[in-house]
């Protein structure tokens, strides 16, 4: 039997540390931010904000520095490869935009700042670890790491019942999902005898030829993979497992909603692509059919439910469910092209959603009425630039050309067309048309002159609201909107660069 030390020498300690370097930077900065908050003498306001930004920027630099490497560490349970590079950039931008938009927002609630920023960093580190893990145990641990930080952040507004309720719902359903995930891992382990997904892949495809798998192994494996899929579907908020999404997106602080909608979704999809491409053996069970049904249900339900919403955060939550359905189409399309398309869609989704949430924050105050879509009427004339950007982000979410949303949808749909999923694309296109209705409804609201409804609350009308909005527009929020605008436009006009980048990342999936 091999001594632990002997095994460890094969994977040098440096390699292990290098493989988690970007995550490690984030974790170290999270601890620094947390512990700086303990010194009462330091002014409480800005340190943690700037330090977290520096941490994220350092991590992005590390990702770029390591971008050509293919390192695995910690006994082969964590890898850093091309896939990580692309997804890390998306996740780190999600974190960066979240922190940028938090500055004024979180001061509004009079809550401790150091813990907030360090929890954001911890969540980001959890997402990154999740993407880079290739071991079933490691996947479970990282999902827990990411989710527990997110549960705390969801309930961060102390004493606010909506926030607490959201956190409780998210926590209970999230733990339930984790149980599915770990139970699925147990079955996969029972069937194959391996925890590392590359070993499982080798066991399935090379060790014994496919016909060689015995019937009982097939049963265990199919149960395990389906349970695993359910566990991840909760995090991706696919249709039958979406129930927590609207409530927890609605109750959470808007910045945290943004982090959940962008970062967590990206991380969950990325790890799903990694696992799906290597161990979801379609000869055991036809997973493409399951994903087909999930995708159609997710888009249709998300869009239909979004039509009925009057609260902007709930509308964006249902829209994010529908978007998850579109993303799934790329994975169903499969192959190199399909995964590339999904990664591209994920990146463009981060920027359009972050932009939309940043503008929700502009118009948000402590009154719940500020979330009502009715109250947006007429703001197009009072805040022309901000409303124009909001319209742009909404058009991007609807998938109108020139925006990144159109290019993302185009690549995802063409991936499915290549694999002859014609009906799926037909349904998806119908859904896109349906989705355009409720996105454009908000735009119409913004540029509509009041029709004299007595009960209509208008944000732009009362002077108290005007001062609140004026106070909300801070440089950091404007920077958030500008970054999101630039990338939404850039990904829409010049997608080749990013598609090339994504395509290179996906190549690493097959270097097993």
């Amino acid at each position: 039997m091999l001594n632990t030390l002997q095994i460890y020498n094969n994977y040098l300690v440096e390699r292990s540390l290098l493989s988690v370097m970007p995550e490690l930077v984030i974790v170290i900065f999270a601890f620094i931010v947390l512990f700086l908050g303990l010194f009462r003498k330091l002014p409480d306001n800005d340190n943690s904000y700037y330090l977290s930004l520096i941490g994220i920027v350092f991590s992005i630099l590390y990702v770029l520095m390591l971008s050509n490497q293919n390192i695995n560490g910690f006994f082969g349970s964590v890898v850093f490869d091309g896939m990580d590079v692309f997804v890390f950039i998306a996740i780190l931008f999600a974190g960066l935009l979240t922190i940028l938009m938090s500055k004024k927002y979180i001061e509004m609630f009079n809550l401790p700042l150091a813990e907030y920023y360090s929890l954001i960093l911890f969540t980001v580190a959890g997402m990154m670890l999740l993407v880079s893990s290739v071991n079933l145990i490691m996947i479970f641990l990282s999902i827990e790491f990411m989710s527990i930080s997110a549960y705390i952040l969801t309930g961060y507004i102390k004493g606010n019942t909506r926030s607490t309720e959201a956190a409780l719902k998210y926590f209970i359903l999230g733990s339930f999902a984790s149980a599915f995930l770990i139970f699925g891992s147990v079955f996969i382990y029972a069937a194959t005898g391996h925890l590392n997904i590359y070993n499982i892949h080798n066991f399935l495809y090379t060790g014994s030829s496919n016909s060689g798998l015995s019937a009982s192994i097939r049963d265990y494996l199919s149960i395990g993979l389906i349970l695993f899929l359910i566990g991840l579907a909760f995090k991706m908020s696919l249709f039958p497992f979406h129930a927590w999404t609207p409530d927890s997106y609605d109750g959470a602080p808007t910045t945290v909603t943004n982090l959940m909608a962008t970062g967590i979704k990206v991380a969950a999809f990325a790890i799903f692509i990694r696992v799906f491409s290597s161990i979801f053996d379609s000869s055991v069970f036809n997973f493409y059919n399951i994903l087909w049904i999930l995708s159609v249900l997710t888009m249709t339900f998300g869009n239909l439910a979004a039509l009925l919403q009057t609260n902007i955060k709930r509308l964006l939550a249902y829209s994010s469910i529908a978007q998850a359905g579109y993303m799934l189409i790329g994975i169903i399309g499969g192959g190199h092209y399909g995964y590339t398309a999904t990664l591209f869609y994920l990146l463009s989704y981060v920027f359009m959603t972050a932009g939309a949430f940043a503008i929700v924050i502009v118009f948000e105050n402590l009154n719940i009425a500020s979330f009502d879509i009715k109250s947006y009427s007429g703001i197009g004339y009072k805040y022309p630039l901000i409303s124009a950007s909001m319209s742009f982000f909404l058009l991007a979410l609807a998938g109108i050309p020139v925006t990144s949303g159109f290019m993302g949808k185009f690549y995802v749909f063409s991936a499915a067309i290549k694999s002859n999923y014609d009906w799926l694309i037909f349904i998806a296109l119908l859904n896109s048309a349906l989705a355009a209705f409720y996105y454009i409804k908000i735009i119409v609201r913004m540029y509509m002159i009041s029709n004299g409804d007595a009960d209509q609350v208008e944000l732009g009308e009362s002077s108290a609201n005007m001062t609140a909005i004026a106070a909300n527009i801070t440089p950091s929020l404007i920077i958030t909107i500008i970054i999101s605008l630039i990338f939404t436009l850039l990904l829409g006009i010049y997608p080749q660069m990013f598609i090339h980048f994504a395509s290179q990342s996906v190549t690493s999936l097959w270097k097993i």
Partner: protein, 119 residues
């Protein structure tokens, strides 16, 4: 045989289920059934209950319980580590050192936050 090696576990599982049902079932079957109000009290033949059991108690107890849980689990991890200490060598020592340091950071944090003060 790999499949037969789980047979004792199956037998013990069946025995456990049978035992659980048998003890409850037999006492219900053989015993005398009486229904009266006194049976609903927590202590049937003890002191008369006074007041509502659902009282509110100080949140500090909850905090102490959470801290106890954290540091108790830390101690729990130390035992298996100590048992294979020689085998793991320096690597195990460094790993455990890091683990303790992270927990120590947690202790410093709750200390500085004032969570350890009772008042």
């Amino acid at each position: 045989m790999a499949e037969n090696s789980f047979l004792p576990i199956l037998i013990i599982l069946i025995l456990a289920i049978v035992f659980a049902f048998a003890t409850v079932g037999l006492s219900a079957f053989l015993g005398k059934n009486t229904y009266e109000k006194g049976k609903l009290k927590p202590y049937e033949c003890g002191v008369e209950p006074v007041g509502n059991p659902h009282i509110r108690f100080d949140i500090k107890f909850y905090l102490i319980a959470i801290f106890f849980l954290l540091f108790d689990i830390e101690a729990l991890f130390l035992f298996p580590w100590a048992a294979v200490f020689i085998k793991l060598g320096l690597f195990g020592f460094v790993e455990m050192f890091l683990f303790i340091v992270i927990l120590l950071l947690g202790l410093i944090y709750i200390w500085k936050k004032g969570a350890l003060e009772w008042d």
